[in-house]
C-alpha cells in the first residue's frame, strides 16, 4: 500500500515538473516572446531592451528555467497586464479560487445526486421508458455545447422569466461578511440567511450548466456498472440466500458498482475546470474561469500561466487522492 502511494506521488511530481517545463516553454513560444507578453502596450524598444536585461533573457535556457522555477516556488509569477493591471498574478488566483471551488462543488454535488440514483434505477429497469429516456437525455447532454446551454438557461430563467439572477455571485444590495469567501457557507456561518440564500440563487443556473457533462458521464458509468454487477454470481447468491433487496442493493450492488464511478468523478474535475471557463464567462461569475476567459481574450499571459498551473495542480492532486482512495477500497489495484 505504502509503495503504491509513493509510486503514485512520484508520478505526480514528475508530471508537475514536466508541466512547469511546458509552461516555461509556452511563455517563451508566445508571439513576440515573454517581453511583449509582459510589457503589453508599453512595448517600446528601449523598454523591451531594459526588460530583457532585467529578466536575464540573454542567459542560456537552463539558467532561465532555473530562475523561473525559483520565482514560481516563491509565488512570484509576474504581474498582470490585462484587466487586473499591476496586480501580482498569484493574487488573481487566490482571490478568485473560492468562487470556482464553490461553483464546482455545487455542480459536482448536483451531478452526483441526480446521476447515481438515476443510473441505478435505469439499470434495474433496463429497456424501460425511464431507461431509454434517461440514456437519450445523457447523450444529448454531451452533445450540447456548455456555453450554449448556459445562455439558454440564462435567457429563459433570468432574462425572460426573471426567476433567478442573470450574473455575478451576490446581489448589489446585500451586505455580507466574508470569512471563507465561499459565499453560501459564509452566509450560513454568520447566520446571514438572506445573504446565503442570495448567493445560492446566483449559483443555481451556472451550476446546472456546468454539471451537464459530468452528469451525463457519471450517469452512463453508473448504469453500465450496475448492469455489470447485477449479472455477477455473488448477487445471485445473495438473492438465493434470501437477503432483503435493500441489503443486496446497498452492500452487494452499489458498493461494487461505485468503484468505477469514483475514478470517473476524479476525471470530471477536469471537465469542471474547463467548463468553468465557459460558464463563468456567460454568467459573469467572478471565479478563476472568468479570469481565464478574460486572460485568453486580452492575452494576459502572466495570469494565464498561474491559473493553468494551479488548475493542473488541482486536477493532479484530486486524481492522486482518488487513486489512493481507490486502492484503499479495492486491493486489486495496488498489485497492478
Amino acid at each position: 500500500m505504502l509503495r503504491f502511494i509513493v509510486r503514485r506521488l512520484l508520478q505526480a511530481v514528475i508530471a508537475l515538473f514536466v508541466l512547469s517545463v511546458l509552461l516555461f516553454a509556452w511563455l517563451r513560444s508566445l508571439p513576440g516572446g515573454v517581453v511583449s507578453a509582459l510589457l503589453g502596450e508599453r512595448g517600446t524598444p528601449e523598454n523591451a531592451a531594459r526588460l530583457r536585461a532585467q529578466l536575464g533573457l540573454d542567459d542560456p535556457l537552463p539558467v532561465q528555467y532555473w530562475r523561473f522555477l525559483q520565482r514560481a516556488l516563491q509565488g512570484d509569477f509576474g504581474v498582470s497586464n490585462g484587466v487586473y493591471r499591476g496586480e501580482p498574478a498569484l493574487d488573481v488566483f487566490v482571490q478568485r479560487f473560492p468562487a470556482t471551488l464553490e461553483l464546482s462543488l455545487f455542480a459536482l454535488a448536483l451531478a452526483l445526486v441526480l446521476a447515481i440514483p438515476l443510473g441505478y434505477v435505469a439499470a434495474r429497469r433496463r429497456g424501460g421508458m425511464l431507461d431509454t429516456g434517461s440514456v437519450i437525455f445523457s447523450l444529448v447532454g454531451v452533445a450540447v455545447p456548455v456555453f450554449f446551454l448556459a445562455y439558454v438557461l440564462k435567457y429563459l430563467f433570468a432574462v425572460r422569466w426573471g426567476l433567478l439572477p442573470p450574473s455575478g455571485r451576490q446581489s448589489v444590495g446585500i451586505d455580507a461578511t466574508h470569512i471563507t469567501n465561499l459565499y453560501v457557507l459564509d452566509g450560513i456561518l454568520t447566520r446571514e440567511w438572506d445573504a446565503a440564500w442570495d448567493a445560492l440563487k446566483h449559483l443555481i443556473l451556472p451550476a446546472i450548466a456546468l454539471s451537464s457533462i459530468p452528469f451525463a458521464i457519471i450517469f452512463r458509468i453508473t448504469r453500465a456498472a450496475v448492469i455489470d454487477v447485477m449479472d455477477e454470481d455473488y448477487v445471485r447468491t445473495a438473492r438465493a440466500k434470501g437477503l432483503t433487496s435493500s441489503v443486496i442493493r446497498v452492500r452487494h450492488i452499489m458498493r461494487n458498482a461505485l468503484i468505477p464511478v469514483v475514478t470517473i468523478v476524479g476525471l470530471q474535475v477536469g471537465a469542471l475546470l474547463g467548463g468553468a471557463v465557459l460558464t463563468e464567462k456567460v454568467f459573469a461569475f467572478q471565479g478563476i474561469g472568468q479570469a481565464l476567459a478574460i486572460g485568453f481574450e486580452r492575452r494576459d499571459y502572466p495570469v494565464l500561466q498561474v491559473l493553468i498551473m494551479f488548475a493542473a495542480l488541482i486536477y493532479i492532486v484530486v486524481n492522486l487522492a482518488v487513486d489512493v482512495a481507490y486502492a484503499l477500497i479495492d486491493p486489486r489495484v495496488r498489485t497492478k
Binding site: Q11, I14, A15, V18, L19, L22, W26, S29, L30, P31, G32, L139, V140, V142, A143, V144, P145, V146, F147, F148, Y151, K154, Y155, V159, V269, G270, A271, L273, G274, G275, V277, L278, K281, L292, A293, F296, E297, R299, L304, I308, A311, A312, Y315, I316, N319
Partner: protein
Amino acid sequence: MTDPTAETGTSPVSPEDPDHRSAFARMGDRRKRRIDELAEAGSLSDERGVSLWQSAWRRLRRDPVFLIGAVIILLFLIVALIAPWLAPHDPRARDLIGQVTPATPIPDPQPGYPLGGDNAGRDLLSRLIVGARQTLIVGVLATLGGLFGGLVLGTLAGGIGGWVDNIVMRVVDVMLSIPSLLMAFSIAAIFARPSQWTVILAIAIVQVPVFARLLRGSMISQRHSDHVLAARSLGVRAPAIVFRHMLPNSVGPVIVQGTLVLAVSIIDAAALSFLGLGNPDDSVPEWGQMLGRAQVFFNTYPHVAVYPALCIIVVALGFTLMGESLREALDPKSRR
C-alpha cells in the same frame, strides 16, 4: 453436439409413428437454430465464417440507435458535399446590408431569406448550409491529426516497449494531467494570429494522448497473442509485425474513438470561437464560429445563436450515437 441416431437415420421411431418423427424433426431444427445462433455470436463459425465485422454489421443494421445516428450523419455528409448548389444565396454576399442599422443589427426573416440575415447582412440559411462543409472539414482534420499523433506515440510505446514506452507514457500522462479544454485553449492562445488551422491544431493535440493510450493498450494486449508469436517465429521483421499483424486489429476501437472525437471536435471548435480564440476570418462560415460570434445577440436575437447551435447538437449527437452503438457492436463482451 451430434446425435449418431439422427445422423445415420436408424431412428428408433417407426415410420408409422408420425408424431414421434415430427418431434425428432423439431429437435433437429432446434439444434440447427442453436448452432446458427452460436455462429452468429462468433463462438462457432459456419461454412461462410462470421468475422467480427460481419457480426457487428448484423447487429448494427437492426439497432435503432445506430440507424438514427447513421441517417443524421449521411444527411450531414450530403449537405456538406452539395452545399454550394443547395444554398439559395452566396454566403458571402451582403444582400441585406441595407437593413442592418444600429437599432436593428439583425435583419428579420423575409421572403427569399427564411431565417433572416446576420449582422453583416448575409443570408443566415445559406451560411448554415455552406457551414456544414467547413464544420466537417474542421472535425475530420482535427480527428485525423489527433489519430496520427496518437498512432506515432502509441505504436512507439506499444511496439517497441522498454524505455521508449516509459518516456512516451510519461509524456502522455502529463498531457492528460491538464484538463483537456484548458489545454486546447492554451495551445490556441500561443498563436498571435488565430486561423482555421490553429483551431484544428489545438483540438488535434488534445486528442493525441487519448489515441496514444488506446493504441498502446491494443498493441500490448497483442504482444503475446498467437498470431504475433506465429509471425515472429516465421521471421517476420518487427515493423512488419506491428503494421501488418497488430495495427489491423486496433482498427475497431480506433473507429469507435474517432467517431466520438468527431463530435467533441465540433463542440470544442465552438468553445474556442466563443473565447475569441477561433478563426477571425468569417468569409467561409463554420457552425462553431457562427455560434461563438452570436454571443452578443443572445438576449436580443436568440435565433442567430440557436440555429447554428441546433446544427452542432444534432450532428454531434449523430456521431455520438454511431460511436456508442459501434462500441457496443464491436465489444465481444456484449455480443449475446
